[in-house]
């Protein structure tokens, strides 16, 4: 608290106190968690709705086993306020984050479109148009899907927390740093393999698509498929090899969004005059970026965790197609003060020399 109060008395070169970022930005992270939770709940709810519709169209409530009867009752209670004719009305929202339909409007993951074009070697425009809105948003907001919607992010961030808990209990977890460019290679190789196989293989290695599908398999079809094994392996990879390793280094979707969002308009910027070089932003960044040295790049997903954690309110959003250039150490940090003193000292030395000369 004292640190925050101090900031307001700091004077910049121009003599104006640095402005505080808009106060709601630091609460966006909660909204992000709400969004992730809602998406995940929908992914759980939709298969149950599908099962419920199946029961409804069978007209055989009395023949259902007890467990299915209670499921029927629960789903009836949940959906009753929203529908008049459940069998048809409940078709309004279907699908997963990979591809979903809201009434007659369809939305698809841009990666699904790219992979399908690669596999089919032709363009089916009605499908390409379903990815138009996500592409526009990605171009404007960057890799926001990764932080705000992706159901895998929801589980991976919980996995990160599990890792922190394990570390507190004395279990060592993985903190390797690998090459972030690997995921672009995964994207390219995945597309080439899809073309070679004539099949959208990308769907089998892309965690959000896997999660949506496997939850449906589990709830409606009675058991997880082998995709869940792949997902569990990525969780282990994150835990034992590299924190958030799959998203940072391997995810083909993340690679595509990073490319699309390279010149995004909404960015996070460090206010150098308020920064005290505490490096909490670097510690909290799930994607292993370097916000403290103004290094966001194309891979920032605007998740706003660094804004939320910053003790001096030194992080804010800006509208700009490019990151600001590196601004040097924060003005409230030790390094900045020592360099200032050094330069002051050298300046006075020079003055002395000048006088002598």
């Amino acid at each position: 608290m004292t640190a925050v109060n101090n900031v307001d008395h700091v004077q910049t070169k121009s003599g104006k106190a640095p402005s505080r970022p808009f106060f709601l930005w630091r609460h966006l992270n909660k909204l992000r968690w709400l969004s992730l939770t809602c998406v995940f709940i929908m992914l759980l709810l939709l298969p149950y709705i599908s099962v419920y519709q199946n029961f409804l169209s069978a007209h055989a409530y009395d023949l259902l086993p007890a467990a299915d009867k209670s499921l029927y009752d629960i789903m009836e209670t949940i959906t009753d306020p929203f529908v008049t004719d459940p069998v048809n009305d409940l078709d309004a929202i279907k699908g997963t984050t990979w591809s979903a339909s809201f009434d007659s409007y369809k939305l698809s993951d841009p990666l699904a479109v790219v992979a399908q074009i690669a596999a089919a070697k032709r363009v089916y425009w009605p499908f390409v148009l379903t990815a138009l809105l996500p592409i526009i948003f990605t171009v404007l907001l960057g890799r926001f899907f990764c932080g705000w919607i992706c159901p895998a992010t929801f589980l991976y961030e919980l996995n990160t927390n599990l890792g922190l808990l394990l570390e507190k209990m004395g279990v060592r977890t993985g903190h390797r740093r690998l090459d972030k460019r690997m995921k672009y290679a995964v994207l390219v190789v995945g597309l080439l393999l899809s073309t070679a196989a004539g099949s959208v293989l990308m769907a089998a290695i892309y965690p959000p698509a896997i999660i949506g599908r496997e939850l449906y398999y589990y709830i409606a079809l009675g058991g997880f498929g082998s995709g869940s094994v792949f997902f569990l392996l990525t969780l282990l990879f994150d835990l034992l090899v590299a924190r958030r390793g799959f998203c940072r280094y391997l995810c083909p979707g993340g690679a595509l969004y990073s490319l699309l969002g390279r010149y995004r308009l909404l960015r996070i910027k460090r206010l150098v005059t308020r920064c005290n070089d505490c490096a909490k932003c670097n510690a909290v960044c799930e994607f292993g970026l370097d916000p403290m040295r103004d290094d966001f790049g194309q891979e920032c997903n605007n998740c706003s965790a660094c804004i939320a954690v910053c003790p001096t309110d030194a992080m804010t959003f800006i509208l700009s197609p490019q990151d600001v250039a590196a601004q040097g150490p924060g003005h409230l940090g030790k390094r900045y003060r020592s360099t200032q003193q050094a330069s002051l000292a050298s300046a006075s030395d020079e003055q002395v020399l000048n006088l002598q000369g």
């Binding site: 199946n54 698809s108 196989a197 599908r213």
Partner: protein, 177 residues
């Protein structure tokens, strides 16, 4: 790798149907993005998904085993499919007859009760296109016409074990060895 990626349709053995309106087998695998919406809207929940058993290329693609649960030709899956892997088809006899080609039913006269002199006719009662796709003659003996779309409801309802009427999937019937 090529063995693993080999199209499911090119291997013998497992007899399954694709959802109604599905493209030809190879095109279907190229077009399907494995979103699972066809199964989610299926009111009969007859659509299931492959794991790795039919090869990597067919992973997570939808299929129907008519003996377990057959297609009721509600045509919702075609509307739900975002990629056109399952074509949208109107729920009218005319468009179903012209556009749906899941397979064709075939009667095994050795097994069929009606052909053995015990009047049955269950498959005829189950057929959604009676007298068009499936007609019955003397002793309710079933005769499948060229117009059969292969929904599999006859196979589902056959009271013989093993079933005396089977749907031969389109992709198996047109297979080139």
């Amino acid at each position: 790798m090529s063995g693993m990626l080999q199209s499911a349709a090119l291997r013998l053995g497992f007899r399954y149907l694709r959802p109604p309106g599905a493209l030809a087998e190879n095109e279907f695998q190229q077009a399907c993005i494995r979103c699972g919406q066809c199964a989610e809207v299926c009111p009969n929940q007859c659509i299931k998904f492959f794991d790795n058993e039919e090869g990597l290329a067919a992973r997570d693609t939808p299929y129907i085993i008519p003996r377990e649960k057959a297609c009721i030709l509600c045509m919702k899956c075609g509307d739900a499919c975002p990629t056109g892997a399952i074509k949208p088809i109107k729920r009218q006899a005319q468009s179903i007859l012209s556009d749906v080609n899941m397979g064709q039913a075939r009667v095994d006269e050795q097994l069929c009760l009606s052909f053995q002199g015990k009047t049955c006719g269950v498959c005829y009662r189950a057929c959604p296109l009676p007298d068009i796709a499936l007609s019955v003659g003397m002793l309710e003996q079933p005769h499948v016409s060229e117009l059969c779309v292969g929904c599999g409801l006859c196979e589902r309802s056959c009271i013989q074990i093993p079933q005396a009427i089977k749907v031969i999937p389109h992709h198996l019937a047109t297979r080139v060895d």
